[in-house]
Symmetry: C2
Subunit: 469 residues, 2 copies
Amino acid sequence: MTKHVSPPRVAPEALEKVCAELAAKFGARFTQSAAVRQQHGHNLSWTPNEPPDAVVFAQSTEEVAGIVKLCAAHGVPIIPYGAGTSLEGHVNAPCGGVSLDVSQMKAILAVHAEDLDCVVQAGVTRKQLNEYLRDMGLFFPIDPGADASIGGMASTRASGTNAVRYGTMKDNVLALTVVTPDGEIVKTGSRARKSSAGYDLTRMFVGAEGTLGVITEITLRLSGIPEAMSAGICSFPTIRAACDAVIATIQSSLPVARIELMDTISIKGINAYSKLGLPEQPLLLFEFHGTEAGVDEQAKRFGDIATEFGGGNFEYATKPEDRTRLWQARHDAYWSFSTHRTGVSVLSTDVCVPISRLAECVEETERDIQASGLIAPIVGHVGDGNFHCGVMVDTNDAKEVADVEAFLKRLVKRAQSMEGTCTGEHGIGQAKMKYLEGEHSTAGLDLMRRIKRALDPNNIMNPGKVLYM
Amino acid sequence: MTKHVSPPRVAPEALEKVCAELAAKFGARFTQSAAVRQQHGHNLSWTPNEPPDAVVFAQSTEEVAGIVKLCAAHGVPIIPYGAGTSLEGHVNAPCGGVSLDVSQMKAILAVHAEDLDCVVQAGVTRKQLNEYLRDMGLFFPIDPGADASIGGMASTRASGTNAVRYGTMKDNVLALTVVTPDGEIVKTGSRARKSSAGYDLTRMFVGAEGTLGVITEITLRLSGIPEAMSAGICSFPTIRAACDAVIATIQSSLPVARIELMDTISIKGINAYSKLGLPEQPLLLFEFHGTEAGVDEQAKRFGDIATEFGGGNFEYATKPEDRTRLWQARHDAYWSFSTHRTGVSVLSTDVCVPISRLAECVEETERDIQASGLIAPIVGHVGDGNFHCGVMVDTNDAKEVADVEAFLKRLVKRAQSMEGTCTGEHGIGQAKMKYLEGEHSTAGLDLMRRIKRALDPNNIMNPGKVLYM
């Protein structure tokens, strides 16, 4: 095993040949401009910018296949790029190579309203899709916050606030069209709701972060827009009380659509940023979907449970504009981080634990943050046991960077020791490769490496991500 | 590609060595008796009995690993065996070798009620598990009909009547312990509800039918037993009307827990077998789970929809014994097949199509059955677009066997041409290998073969199943 060794940089002659051919074929859709390269090596994490050598904008699966075949013939790395919203260094180009940008693949190819599914190109964003679907009474429920591309969401196995009810990308992708590292076009499944026909190629590419191929089209499950929605917020004296209320809610089979936690630090930031005047205590935000009578009943039951665990300061809303107001605290969470400290980077990381361990994990993490002298508000998709820390870090301060690194290591270890995972929804990218090693046994990592080698023996697909090869 | 060539039979000397060692180590838990071998090469399909050379009963993951290591060292095939309820020849031993029976691995290792999950050994059956869980207010919702082992259900990506609401094994397995073809023990994931940490090893083994390794332990998602359940039946003038009612139900986001279709032939059989006196018309059986008010509302809404599509002769029930009575028609379906024709085999096969094509697919199949002079009642998990034909066949009549083969080929082709799949829940086994070839492109099959070769280069894990190698 060649651990922690970066794959070699692309050979200059090979790169030159590929770039010349791409330039000739794609004209203005191919570029080596520093600004565009820089932007494609950018990401929302604190990993250093590692720009690709070139960027090519594909508009069809066939074009993607042609680009991959060309790069494969010359051993040139390919970094699939969608909306660039990833958080763990997924789109950096540590070995150089070509960023294969699918953001112009924005066609919604089919909506099958009767079957509650659709087929989209990889560059379609979730907001674009939901805009398109709204008049049909349908929606695509996965909401990671950012207006990510569907291809990128599939590649990172994304989820978000609605996952407790509607599942993650793993559950909502019916089939994919993928370009393999050889440049072959493969459809991984049919439009049937379920299938027992052979290996689950779909789930092999969902979450593979572009290291096994390029996702170009996605068949998605859709949901009907609920007839009624009811949203609410309530405050709790402690994180533990809030978590216990959530556990009781989930256990009682209340089909909550979203249930989010914000810790006291987050609320302080939100109050400073959005002037919401919320009690400076842990807050739960929740939403119910169903019939009018159904959501009324759910909200009432949840209220009873929350009260039992010390919940108070309830506010409810059913009209869209009022629901949006209630959820504003959550939507502004990321932006409010800057109120704590300006001129620094915010490192957004996530872990996920069994819900019974959530209170313990969040409480220990809060104590750790305090003891470390860091500022790191916590928000969480608490129905899934998934939470985020937004760690403020001055990346020019080596000592602080080291402190944050040490904190992240403890955070991941804590989650893993509680039978959890180093990432619930952000993925591995570059930044969590070392933690993936700790999560799986040598034999488990060996299986992953065998799959990678079997599909991409020359390691040209997004090298330097997910697995040390 | 070496299509349609059976892998070679195990070498006698290798087998002899392995059997001697297993006999010494496992004593009475190892056997080469003809009766036990015969029973382990048996299955509920019409594929000929192909008994293994020996059967060994393992009681722990470590024992399984030891057996696999021994067999791997001598190139002896291993056929994982659970409850033997599979329908497509999954447990036959076309190359001989050792049937690795996990039916004595019946320990429920942990139930985490707060997290709605549990960890079980592969030989635990679903009825055993639900019996165990009942007092905790929890249940495991996947119900394929037979009292299958959880390991077998994971291996075939099983589902059944509840899948429309609760998903399939793909959705309800959180993690697995697997013994790889090298005899290594791998845990594929944590107990976190979701994870974006690396390749989805769990979903790689779910549905692989024991061809990539032996599943020995399963971490399962559980559900809370609903506070209230309401069941019902209603008759429709045509299959199309029944299917249209189902489509409208699914589209209106009614969270139906089960919705099953039986065609007129099935109803005639049921009336003969169970004396239920049902109208001899297509029948829908349905069930709603939720709060008392919730299931009332759902049943009422469904009634309105069904009436609109010509549904009539409604019967509803909420008490357990009354619900059981209503569902009797469905439960007896398999046994009632014998009323149509005695002394013949019943071949139970399944396909799955997008729900919008279901009426068309079932109607065409009914016409095909009539034209072919076959008897083949149709029952279906209609909310998923999945249906079964129970084809009566005299396996001693070569002409009839050929007719049935031709019918099956048309059935699969019909489903595939409607963007469906050759099997929704039974799996490929031996009997559908040729149809898997038609469902995926050469490049797609090549990906599956590469995975198989990467994990099991000597093809010792359940050879002669799923993929022609």
